[in-house]
Symmetry: D2
Subunit: 392 residues, 4 copies
């Protein structure tokens, strides 16, 4: 198949209904341990972050939810923030807890040997649940920086036990319709061992908690060479894939624009998703971006990211599943692979442009935003005050 001018109806429907959550911190400054670069126009408070996030949604029509990071996005009145989002046509998405920027968490938070520290970390998560209720969010996202840098620094096993206890107490704080998602990460900021380093560990903990606990898969949090689509398939098979943190990496947790480093990997990941219909609303999988933009324009990068996921999703929806199953059954390796690649190489951009125009959106959201003058406007307006970054 080559370059359909319009997408098949069911593909168009799925694309129209598919949404991505964007991270509030994706609109603030970030960087590496070497340097955080600022840019004119960077938001100075959570309200301005939402204002920028609304741009992404305005141009793509596909990113109506914004994740908050607590306490980075702490405001006096979360109800006001919620109403502000509402006025912008946005909803507040997941609430991300943060136990890695206080001095007391130096040696761990939910896993710390010190009971007082653990208590405080648990309480922080309960506070996040309060924020959820004040903002209309239904999901608590937990990523822990916990781990050690040297062999012997602490007991790997004791920390697992303490983690299990801490999570259990947080879980009890969840309401009926609320859920908790637990993220795993291979390494960084811990360099010897990480307390939740892999999907197996995350899964064991959420299974122990109950049905409202699920796993978050961040595409940048794996060892080199890991087949991520296999993990996606496995977590879906266990009904425990709660959310995605999309981004790209070449080396470590590089947090680059999703689809920029290895677009074919993104295709393979989404193909596991669409095969079981998990891309559809109501599947229980929350698709989210989690990226840092420290060299490039932040809003442009978020728009590009939404487009990358959308284009790739459209490609996976074009795979001829019947022909594929037939080739697989015959062990026709060359044909089966060719069927997959045919969809990957199909240029879905004209079809998506047509669909966007039908939906009253710009055919090329990236170009339209660049031409809008928004960036110049906020650069001129947002003068004075502190730009927001990784920090409250």
């Amino acid at each position: 198949m080559t370059t359909p001018d319009t997408l098949p109806a069911e593909v168009a429907r799925d694309i129209s209904e598919f949404t991505l959550e964007v991270p509030s911190w994706g609109y603030g400054n970030s960087g590496t341990r070497f340097k955080v670069f600022g840019t004119p126009g960077t938001p100075r408070d959570p309200f301005e972050k939402l204002t920028d996030a609304a741009q992404t949604h305005a141009y793509t029509g596909s990113s109506p939810r914004v994740s908050l990071h607590y306490p980075w996005d702490k405001v006096d009145d979360f109800g006001e923030l919620r109403r502000y989002a509402d006025d912008l046509g946005l909803q507040i998405g997941m609430i991300n807890s943060n136990t890695f920027q206080e001095d007391e968490y130096k040696f761990g938070s939910l896993t710390a040997g010190d009971k007082t520290v653990r208590r405080r970390a648990i309480d922080h998560h309960l506070e996040c649940i309060d924020v959820m209720r004040a903002t209309g969010s239904k999901e608590l996202k937990i990523w822990l920086a916990d781990g050690t840098n040297y062999a012997g620094q602490d007991s790997i096993r004791a920390r697992q036990d303490r983690l299990a206890e801490s999570l259990a107490e947080i879980y009890l704080g969840l309401g009926e319709d609320e859920r908790l998602v637990l993220e795993y990460k291979f390494f960084e900021p811990s360099f010897y061992h990480t307390d939740v380093p892999d999907w197996g560990t995350s899964l064991l903990h959420v299974q122990a908690l109950g049905e409202k606990a699920l796993v978050v898969l961040d595409t940048g949090h794996h060892a080199p060479g890991t087949n991520i689509e296999f993990i996606v398939a496995q977590l879906l098979r266990q009904n425990r894939l709660g959310a995605f943190d999309f981004n790209s990496r070449n080396y470590a947790d590089d947090d680059l624009i999703v689809g920029s480093a290895d677009p074919f990997q993104l295709f393979r990941i989404l193909f596991e998703i669409v095969q079981v219909g998990a891309h559809r609303p109501g599947s229980g999988v929350n698709f989210m971006l989690d990226q840092c933009h420290y060299l490039e324009s932040k809003i442009q990068a978020q728009i590009r990211s939404v487009l990358n996921v959308q284009e790739t999703l459209a490609k996976t929806l074009l795979v001829d599943l019947e022909a594929l199953a037939d080739a697989q059954e015959r062990n026709d390796v060359m044909e089966a692979n060719a069927i997959l690649m045919d969809a990957f190489w199909t240029d879905v951009r004209p079809g998506l442009a047509a669909l966007r125009e039908e939906r009253g959106l710009p055919a090329d959201p990236f170009a339209a935003f660049r031409a809008s003058g928004y960036e110049e406007k906020v650069a001129a307006e947002r003068v004075g005050g502190n730009q927001m970054g990784w920090g409250a």
Copy 2:
């Protein structure tokens, strides 16, 4: 602590009681896809392999069990092989199934789409259980080469389902006192996806089977940078660590002598073991070597491997656990690490030599074997016939 002339009594006892299983195929030829090198004196049948394995045990006093690989070690009368082992002071250990050297397994065995192939692969495992009964073995070890080389070649998810069904049928074949251990491997011989690539997948399958199913951890089967001692701790915490395949690697599944590539890693792994007493007889963890010796002398390499594990185990048993726990509680990173390293750097060789002499063994098994003339003798005697290697 520096160089005790004798080991503390409880360390000496633990070392004396600790045993390692050796692989029959470690005494045969092996190599890489580029070349298998033969050596004069290499066994020509399973009986000669046992004869060589008995040398390792004779010199170390610590390797009384020999794993078999089926059908590589197929003989007309397994009862005869068992009696032969018995006469040598050996027991038959795990029976390793093999579904990767028949043409029909080209596209999978327990995961294959073709029912006839799956049937045959299941039957092969049931046959392995028969071999267990004929040889006195109580454990079936399953490592699968199953996987694919190209995206789209087969359905990752369907293969998981088929694997689960196949394993369930094999599991039903086990007797009350028999068990099954399932090995995972990151990659090779499959280069796109592997059906049991990580500990999480192996654990999910054995949990689904029941209490007689456990996970095998091969130290060479992980992604670069993986913290293996963490996995050891996690599997022990789940009571699902059934067996170890010890070896070393720098790159992929290099199958080098255990402890030769990164001796400190071996120390950290064994330290997780001894902290919960899992090195003791009756813990349910079967410690085994799984290595290829294609450049070096095979029996010497097996003896060296036993010594490496023994020396490292002794070091871990010397860790001052009380002082360590105290330093950990105080978050004294430098002290905690120093306590661990003190044990690592302690020279346990004199103490082990003394212990061996007490047990009627040569103080230096490696030197003693080299001086024994055994290798020259078998090189002269074992003339004619085909040397055994990876193949029945």
Copy 3:
């Protein structure tokens, strides 16, 4: 740009003139250390390999040269082989030496400590030069399996010195219009150290030899995460990139179909090539495939590989270089990346199909070959005799 029905004239010219060399061994059996699978119809001698290679060329019009491996492709009369190739419309390409399948090379060949072994290895290469002259080849390709498996096994430094001496003697054997290319490889079959592990080492040796010595870059021979296009740019900058071995990898030297694992990487590599015109005939870079096909149809896989490189090359030729340079100069990261990606996502298949038909070739070489009945024919005809594989 989206889906041009015809390619721009200069792109069409470049594609028409671009050729890939195919490996004779790509038409024989191969596999992993676990198993080599045979397939009906596999060639039984070098002549049949050429016959199959001619199919790839017949359908793609772009693979007129065949690399030989010596002694795998040894025949009584190389002149006859050359004439046979000529009749098929093929030329003999590079002659690949082989010093990894004889027992005496167990501990090294050109680097071996034993002078007799080194002598023999040098003589083997001089013999390869004779084969070049008998077949019309102008290039000697050297890949060495030399290395060690254990620290201390041999002196890393002494082996470098011996390698330099051996290469110097081989270099002296080259005629005016002949050249030598030296390949590097990260690991395998050596698992502790490899004597030519990286481009830096290969470059140092070829620089020491003289202008007729160059580096071969095999896309599967790098550490995880290595930016290969950087190395391409660097070697081109030094005028020392002599040849490519194309293939794909996810883990180690997986030898999969080029472009199948990470098509965007192939695009980035070729983009470095086209920016300096090194894809054009006469640039001095010999583009070659070096792959193993042990699950999939060998001829289909070679055809697919030629198409993958051709399609990707066409995409790189579509990059708007002027706009790119402009965006780079303005540090417009988003725009610069977008310009590159626009070319990557452009569907060049219709344009290439049109070009092929213009050249008298099938629009879809893959489908045309599959429909031709050739595979069924040779499967029926090539009965009896030994199928060729990795071995003479």
Copy 4:
């Protein structure tokens, strides 16, 4: 050999004469992109850093030089700093340039497309040479953060050309007895391509500059699995190894205490050094630490690092080179490896303790420093002011 109470005379001499340079920034705060943790007593200016560095030297007798980072260590009067060091019995070692913390270097420094930026970066290095002259330093160390995050962001090749030009201008600024060392790094803070990613690139640039330019090898700056001792051997063979940055890593550039992650790797690296006598004063190799201590006590960590290198060096000096050469010549893999490991497992701590006492140093510098009360003293004294960290 096991636990000599005293070291052989020539080993004792080599150990006594061997010195390590310490980094001024190792005494300041550091951390990850997630958090920089402060500690009571952390230096508030370069003078206090030197005061702390003097402690490391006082207890080990082996770290008389301190590297400065410019402008982190900028003071009004470098002559005063030099005299201060002199009074403490210290010398100023290498001057490290810094072009990664100014906004203008966002898109590169010596490689930047913008001429003004390049000019400023070159001038910064010339200013560093002035600092060298004011402090008595003879070496300029260059590590560049330059690179890109996205394919297409800039021209890999053009950046190499600009780098070469910039370096040439800096090189011209060096005096007769001054030299420049160029560091390479695999990745971070750039995540797509790095302008000096590997030893080959660094070597090409320093070769082009002249004899006063050499390569710096940081043990944490390589791809996973890289055999670092091979690179050491290769650079020594080219007489271009100028300096070491010692530290440890498990994943990326973790900057942990040298020898803590893989002590056997450190042994293998130093063994390549001692085999050609490059550990001796006057060899031209400057051995330096480059580490971050953000969880552990900084001075303790520096002392431990010196001890780790010293102990490991002593072990390498105990290798029986004659026996090793003999075993290597006979291709006796097991024996050759055993000879190396014998030295590795020898406990050199008693011998080093005896040597220290002979030299008037504490037998156990680590314990002695911990007991000294110095840390408590500076924690009480250094109140008020800003703790120094990564930043001027």
